[in-house]
């Protein structure tokens, strides 16, 4: 078994001056290649879990952490919902914006630009390289921000509701890139209220409530609030319910799912999302 990149063991965290802890007794392992969906209602602690797991809390945001935390990851990247707050504001091209991270590490120029080019290719936005970040749409900008995080070669990439400001098409494009990152060995922590898209890409899921982990495991066991799962339940399917359309198609008509969107976008066998549903 691969050694976890992040281990939380009974971790609790409070923000400075807060009366109540934002996280309580959280235990979690994150391994390379995991695409871990973290869901929960507003105030459940999903964003805080990402900050604690990646080491930014309390180091950057302050506060108090108790319990066990072991971060074996060499480097963690983080992406927030609003792309424009994550720009440096100092770069006049997308290439320079993406190259900012590697340049900050003092890598040679050639290595900096190579890392930027790789990250742009990974997010399929190489055609934006010479554009001014200030002139991009929200969807393009968010992919630039993800590319900027990837350019540093993080072992763990934390995405906090990354599609909050995006239109459905841009959100799909962003989520579709995640299984590829997982397949390349990057662990992805994805805090999102979007169960439908999370179910399509996650390999594991965590449901949070009031700062605690309410459930964790396979998406099929945790994300059973998706439209597809509710439909399957209403139709009398036995659990575990299919949580995305691909799993549902597989369940009801194994042959018809082969030409569908989910099938064509699915990562290679063995690295794809575990929906918990097998074809009969």
């Amino acid at each position: 078994m691969t050694a976890p990149l992040i281990t939380l063991a009974g971790a609790s965290f409070s923000y400075p001056g807060a009366a109540r802890p934002a996280l309580t007794d959280v235990s979690l392992d994150v391994a390379p290649g995991d695409v871990l969906a973290v869901t929960g209602p507003a105030g459940a602690g999903t964003s805080t879990l990402l900050l604690v797991a990646t080491g930014f809390a309390p180091r950057v945001v302050g506060g108090t952490l108790t319990g066990g935390r072991d971060i074996a990851a060499r480097r963690c990247g983080v992406v927030f919902a609003r792309p424009w707050t994550q720009l440096t504001g100092l770069c006049s091209t997308v290439r320079d914006e993406v190259a900012f991270g590697p340049a900050s590490l003092g890598l040679p120029r050639a290595a900096v630009f190579a890392a930027a080019a790789r990250a742009l290719d990974q997010l399929r936005i190489a055609h934006l390289a010479d554009r001014d970040p200030a002139q991009l749409s929200g969807g393009e900008l968010q992919r630039v921000v993800v590319a900027a995080a990837l350019a540093l070669g993080p072992d763990v990439l934390a995405l906090d509701d990354p599609a909050a400001e995006l239109d459905p098409e841009a959100a799909d494009a962003l989520y579709d890139a995640l299984p590829g990152l997982g397949a390349a060995g990057t662990a992805v922590l994805l805090a999102t209220p979007d169960l439908q898209r999370a179910a399509r890409v996650a390999t594991r899921a965590v449901a949070m409530a009031e700062g605690r982990i309410a459930a964790q495991g396979r998406p099929a066991d945790v994300l059973d609030g998706t439209d597809v799962a509710l439909l399957a339940r209403a139709a009398g399917c036995p659990p575990p319910y299919p949580v995305d359309i691909t799993a549902l198609l597989r369940r009801i008509a194994p042959q018809s799912s082969r030409g569908g969107r989910g099938t064509s976008d699915a990562p290679p066998a063995g690295s794809g999302p575990d929906t918990g549903v097998t074809a009969p």
Binding site: L51, F56, V60, V61, C76, G77, V78, F80, R82, T85, Q86, T88, G89, L90, C91, S92, D96, A99, F100, G101, P102, A103, S104, L105, G106, L107, P108, R109, V112, F113, V145, A148, A149, L152
Partner: protein, 253 residues
Amino acid sequence: MIGYVEGTSPLHRAHPYTTLAAAAALLMGAFAMTRPLEVWLLVAAALGYAAVGGVLRASARTAVLLSLPIWVVLFVLHGLLGAEPRVLAGPVALSAPGLARALVLGGRVTAIVVGFLTALAATSPHRLVEAMTADGAPFGRAFLLASTLTVLPRMRERAAQILEAQQCRGLRLGGSPFARLRALAPLALPLVLGALAEVDEQVLALDARGAASGARRTALDPPDDSAAQRVLRWTLLALVLAAYGWKFWRMRG
């Protein structure tokens, strides 16, 4: 016009240190000048500086708008209420030394504002950071300076958005000065709180991208710094020192 304006003028193409050195020389020079003619020659130099930067009209217009209230206060304070002797300007007797003082102070303010606006308009924050990075300056220092150059346009853009949003929700502008003052609260509070929230996220984002790694940052595209520009910067420094020397020599005399 307050903030960087894309352009290809000689000031835009110059090394950012040269552009900033010229603005600093105007600032320092303004305090070395003590007579109206000297100060207004400096204002002319500031306008020349703006012309070289291709932003003469915009800089001059904004400078007049910003300086006008100060000119009025200076005219009343020194021109009307200043010391004897007085000169007649139509029906009004104005203080001669007060007028000279107002011209000096008003000219200084104008030269400084024109210089500042032109430096803002012609200094690309990106090139400035690259220049400082190439010199080995810590990223924090470069970022602080560049952020100072970009903070005004960013705040103005955000204020316009908040103002539109508040007007959509029924905020009425205009009316008595008291009503205008009262309308500031729904603008200022979201402006400040929003800016603070954004700063939090930006600090995290920059940290995540290695800004605090402690490594010496790689300059990706450092601007050219020719010998002629270095000579020009030293010359400007020499001129400022000479102006202060002249000022103190005259004061002693």
